[in-house]
């Protein structure tokens, strides 16, 4: 009898101690993640909710909250009649092309640098340089390189005998491709580094057994390297798509959407709508569509990872 009483008392005490430590544990948990959580709450979560709400309104932030008018889906139906928005969206879809081109070039470079050259590290640094350079400086430099009449690129083309070289960034048809070339150039380094890390994690014995079977270089690439890096390819494809939707700096500095909106993108149109034309509601509905696209790509990633990637 006595025994059981002390036992229950003891277990009660340990239970109390345990719940006290539990409470302390919870408290320290909140203290550790508190600053980050609070920051994200104020700077990301609440703004996301506000974007959502404002996208159904007709409002300008200089007008004061009492002028806020909800208009349902009118912003969205207006957006799909808005020529500039549609062109910008179409350009964003074109920009997606940058990603596969980048991947092909950087995978080729990665394989060559990994297996076939001396000075590996030196090459890594060389191809990585554009990625760490500020996009503003790079854009300004390319403005001069692409200068139609006396820029080095056209002078070079003329010296080769091209009498009427394109005016690049000033030409409706060449402006967007020029921007895309620069984007490929800037992004190669990142893909290259990621690919090289992936190549190094391929087990060496796979290649050895391929050697025994007498497989040639191409077969080894097609049968071993390419499938083994497919998770990386998929990852780079998805992150590349997402970041191409976020392209803003290069457009703002290089072209400001010109000529005739031929290089405008959603983020740039959003920026001018919000901060130059001060149409907060309308800009917010664009922001929501942008969010929707990024979300769609993310869902595609979650779904696709299970289905297509060859581990």
């Amino acid at each position: 009898m006595d025994n059981t009483i002390t036992k229950t008392a003891e277990s009660k005490r340990t239970a109390r101690v345990r719940s006290a430590t539990k409470r302390r544990e919870t408290l320290s948990g909140y203290l550790f993640i508190g600053p980050m959580f609070l920051g994200l709450l104020i700077l990301t979560i609440i703004p996301t909710i506000i974007t959502f709400i404002l996208s159904f309104s007709d409002w300008s932030f200089i007008a004061g909250v009492d002028k806020l008018k909800f208009t349902g889906f009118r912003n969205f139906s207006r957006l799909f009649d808005d020529h500039v928005f549609l062109v910008s969206l179409k350009n964003n879809l074109y920009l997606l092309l940058v990603v596969p081109v980048q991947l092909i070039i950087s995978l080729a470079l990665a394989v060559i640098i990994d297996k076939l050259v001396y000075l590996k590290n030196f090459f890594k640094i060389i191809f990585f340089l554009p990625y760490i350079s500020s996009i503003v400086a790079v854009s300004i430099c390319f403005q001069l390189l692409f200068q139609p009449s006396y820029g080095p690129i056209n002078q070079f083309l003329r010296s080769l005998g091209v009498s009427n070289p394109p005016t690049w960034l000033a030409d409706i048809h060449y402006a967007l491709p020029s921007v895309m070339v620069i984007m490929v150039w800037v992004g190669i380094g990142f893909c290259l580094i990621v690919y090289m890390a992936a190549l190094q994690s391929i087990p060496k014995d796979l290649y050895e057994s391929a050697d025994i079977d007498g497989a040639g270089a191409w077969t080894r690439f097609a049968r071993i390297t390419f499938p083994m890096v497919s998770p990386t390819t998929f990852f780079l494809l998805v992150t590349g798509f997402i970041s191409s939707f976020k392209a803003f700096d290069i457009i703002k500095v290089l072209t400001e959407g010109r000529p005739a909106y031929s290089t405008s993108v959603v983020t740039y149109y959003l920026y001018t709508t919000a901060f130059e034309n001060l149409k907060t509601g309308y800009a917010s509905s664009m922001a929501l569509i942008l969010f929707g696209f990024v979300l769609l790509i993310t869902l595609f990633q979650m779904y696709g990872q299970k289905k297509w990637v060859n581990y």
Binding site: G29, M36, L40, I132, L144
Partner: protein, 277 residues
């Protein structure tokens, strides 16, 4: 056979060197133009090594002329250093909390943090701008630092490393009576130091190169960072291309030095983030 392999290797190295030079040609052109007098900039054939040097004049005009490059630099250094420190500190705290502390609602909160990662920053600039005006953070370095400091990315990246620390380490410390604060500071932080360095360098580079945030959240010229400064300089100095190139070289150079010193961290950080997703 071995000799043949060496031969192939030498040839591809030479070919790749040529490709590499072609790849960085825009940089070489930029540097060379910044060293020349204005009339030589667009001379063709290109004088890669200038015949007439104008280095001192160009750079002193950029640094001590009408546009206060010194101030832009100082602003950028200040914002980048503080952002990096704050971000590393807050992110590692959150990473520790999410990996080694058990508390109610941990999974739900982590999911929420994960979700913020999917929100493109341009989708929320308008509300951020409004909130900053209400909180009087608009047009201040403090605001810019806050924007750069709270990113879920750092939390994820560092969490991987905190998770990699064996629980036994921490259990032993707990038995000795150490609380979470002490375990965090004295045990885990030293163990994840390389990861902190990697994240710090990446965050520094991102902040230094950030253009959109200073463009939107700053207005005064005396607060401008180098990215804003260089763009203003380029659009306002009209046709003085040698000066503009001296400005762009000045904007890139510090990062280049940091990258060369910390290239191992940068490359590892990129590779790690990439491979782990």
């Amino acid at each position: 056979m071995d000799k043949r392999k060496k031969g192939i290797r030498t040839v591809t190295t030479i070919l790749m060197l040529l490709a590499g030079v072609a790849f960085v040609l825009p940089f070489l052109w930029m540097i060379s133009a910044s060293f020349k007098p204005e009339i030589d900039v667009f001379k063709y054939p290109i004088e890669w090594i200038p015949k007439h040097w104008n280095v001192y004049e160009n750079y002193s005009e950029v640094w001590f002329g009408e546009h206060p490059f010194g101030i832009y630099y100082w602003n950028t250094v200040k914002v980048s250093v503080i952002t990096t420190l704050v971000s590393v500190w807050i992110s590692s705290m959150a990473a520790y909390g999410f990996s080694h502390v058990d508390f109610k609602g941990k999974n739900a909160m982590f999911l929420l943090v994960l979700m913020t990662f999917m929100v493109p920053s341009y989708s929320i600039i308008v509300p951020q701008f409004m909130i900053f005006r209400w909180l009087r953070l608009f047009d201040s370095h403090l605001g810019l630092i806050l924007i750069g400091s709270f990113s879920a990315l750092g939390t994820f990246m560092l969490r991987q490393f905190f998770l990699g620390i064996h629980k036994d380490y921490l259990e032993a410390a707990k038995l000795d009576g150490a609380g979470h604060a002490r375990i965090f500071l004295q045990i885990t932080i030293p163990l994840v130091k390389p990861a902190l360095a990697t994240y710090a360098i990446l965050r520094f580079i991102w902040t230094w190169n950030d253009y959109a945030n200073p463009l939107i959240f700053l207005r005064s010229d005396r607060l401008a960072t180098i990215q804003i400064g260089i763009q203003k300089f380029a659009s306002e100095s009209g046709v003085y291309y040698s000066l503009i190139m001296a400005g762009t070289v000045s904007a890139i150079l510090p990062l280049l030095l940091i990258f060369i010193v910390g290239q191992k961290q940068v490359i590892e950080g990129i590779a790690m983030g990439g491979v782990k997703g």
